[in-house]
């Protein structure tokens, strides 16, 4: 069983071999294969958008994906929910000494396949190796570059009372699947991460409706945290209806066992959308047309200007959802 050694990170022959045999082999394209310290990019049209994300998920392989797929989806999705067409990713690897090379290959293959599906090229990369006990097997940074067309302007949209809150599918599947696959919890489940690319869905709904006012993906901190950010940033009250929240029984069940509210569990393949009331049905239908949006539902609406998030419970009461404070959920993303 071959493993990563410190020499794979020293700039010398072993590192060159690793890059050639694994990174270039799976991810190679005209830009990456320039093999310069920096990559020259072809001319782009539209407003440039960039985003960066490091992935430190534990375990690195989980039901529904692995850290490679997650690292591409995560950054592509951050571009997509900002209305951008994703074009390029850079790939920064921090490998831990002792990582099996076969595992690295599976992960990089997964990076390459997901990038291909997303229509993005890996433009540049970097590989570092840290000593055993100083890493998590593998950490991945992806930084994305995309362009926004002139017809898209999500930044200035004004969110108003009556606007609808729409989600493209069930909540917290990724977070629950990761927790369930942690050895320390010793739970067995059929939970699968929802980890998926969102760029086709977002392009589709943005071109089919002018009524979309905000898009995001409820990753770290889950739906509640994503809604909090909207409530703070746009100074609106958001009200959710507990009864119609799409939460899988298994996710609810695991949350119950571990004492974690699924509203704070990450999704990695869901779009959260604020849409004008009169456009909500059209948006829902457009989202349902996508293979990853079949579970789309309206889950609440904007009800005022108090910068907070409330939940109308199944019993008819109202609960204010607090921002996430304590540590519930280490390293889900």
């Amino acid at each position: 069983m071959k493993t990563i050694t410190l020499a794979h990170g020293n700039g010398g022959e072993l590192m060159q071999e690793l890059i050639k045999d694994i990174i270039y082999y799976y991810c190679g394209n005209d830009i990456l294969l320039q093999q310069d310290d920096a990559a020259y990019l072809p001319e782009v049209e539209g407003e440039l958008v960039t985003t960066t994300d490091s992935f430190v998920v534990d375990p690195i392989f989980f039901p529904g994906g692995d850290i490679g797929k997650l690292a591409v989806c995560g950054t592509v999705n951050d571009l997509a929910v900002n209305g951008a067409h994703p074009l390029y990713l850079t790939l920064g690897l921090i490998l831990e000494e002792g990582l099996e090379i076969d595992k690295l290959k599976r992960i990089i293959k997964s990076v390459a396949e997901t990038a291909r599906k997303a229509g993005v090229k890996i433009a540049a990369g970097d590989t570092k190796v840290v000593p055993q006990g100083k890493g998590g097997g593998i950490y991945i940074n992806t930084t994305g570059l995309g362009v926004v067309g002139p017809d898209i302007n999500l930044q200035d949209a004004k969110i108003e009372t009556g606007d609808k809150i729409i989600i493209s599918g069930s909540i917290g599947d990724h977070g629950a699947a990761i927790l369930a696959s942690r050895e320390e919890f010793e739970v067995s489940s059929a939970l699968t991460s929802d980890c998926a690319l969102l760029n086709n869905l977002t392009a589709q709904i943005l071109s089919s409706s002018g009524g979309i006012k905000f898009l995001t993906d409820p990753t770290r901190g889950g739906l509640a945290t994503a809604l909090h950010e909207i409530a703070q940033q746009k100074q609106v009250t958001i009200n959710l209806e507990e009864e119609i929240l799409p939460i899988k029984k298994e996710v609810q069940g695991l949350g119950g066992i571990l004492g974690i509210d699924p509203l704070y569990l990450a999704s990695e393949g869901r779009v959260l959308c604020v849409a004008a009331a009169e456009e909500a049905e059209a948006v829902v239908n457009a989202m349902k047309d996508s293979p990853i949006g079949t579970g789309t539902a309206v889950i609440g609406e904007v009800t005022g200007d108090k910068s907070r998030v409330c939940l109308t419970t199944n019993l008819g009461g109202t609960r204010i959802l607090r921002p996430l404070q304590k540590q519930l959920l280490p390293r889900l993303c």
Copy 2:
């Protein structure tokens, strides 16, 4: 003494506080403060160039700099030696639980100051926290975006026999300073890293001479590795003159004690340049005009087409410099 906890990475209130009080406080600018999942960039003119690098240096503070300064210099310099004018950096932090918050502040302050000196803006960022024993205090990824003007074309320059090899200062200072500051080696020295921004120097020499055929910075793997890459990529023989190599006595001495050839020790603030013979003097003079190029020297020349690097020793013999194979130097960058 306040330290980083796992909750600083969960997307909730503590993380928002950390970002506001430290990242925005030191690095804030119009683009970063958009506070979206992705950053919209103003229109740029010229060919886009991107590069990515993760920094895992140990120790994170060292004579002449820290991991924050290094992370900005490293990526700015990769853009600079590709002829690009650096514009934006993204900042991906992987913090280890237990890192002192004061140390983080010092590092981010250093990121901000170095970015300001380089004339680049931090456009987007990300913060993750890993459990104690799964990191190195702090790892930093910086991904850079720059533009190359229409008058710069380093990619197609043809390197020929007779071309001169020029370096902007002494070799291996960074690598030696890092090794000397490692506790396990228990050496005391006055060595200082050469960690510095190269973009002013490169802009200056590229505008003052058309004879520059290749620029790089001899970081990981040192001068020998950088020259190997040129020799392989351009299929040329490069000959160095040992007698005229600028290596500080302290670097040579430390190399002797630890059994490490300074030719393989990283620099983090040196430009390595291949220039046409008839332009070499002008390039040397332009480099010497820069405050970080006062130690510029011609150290060798292109002597054939054998894709290798040779050293004419002080005794008059010729030694072929091999590519770096074993692990000499963990985590210098």
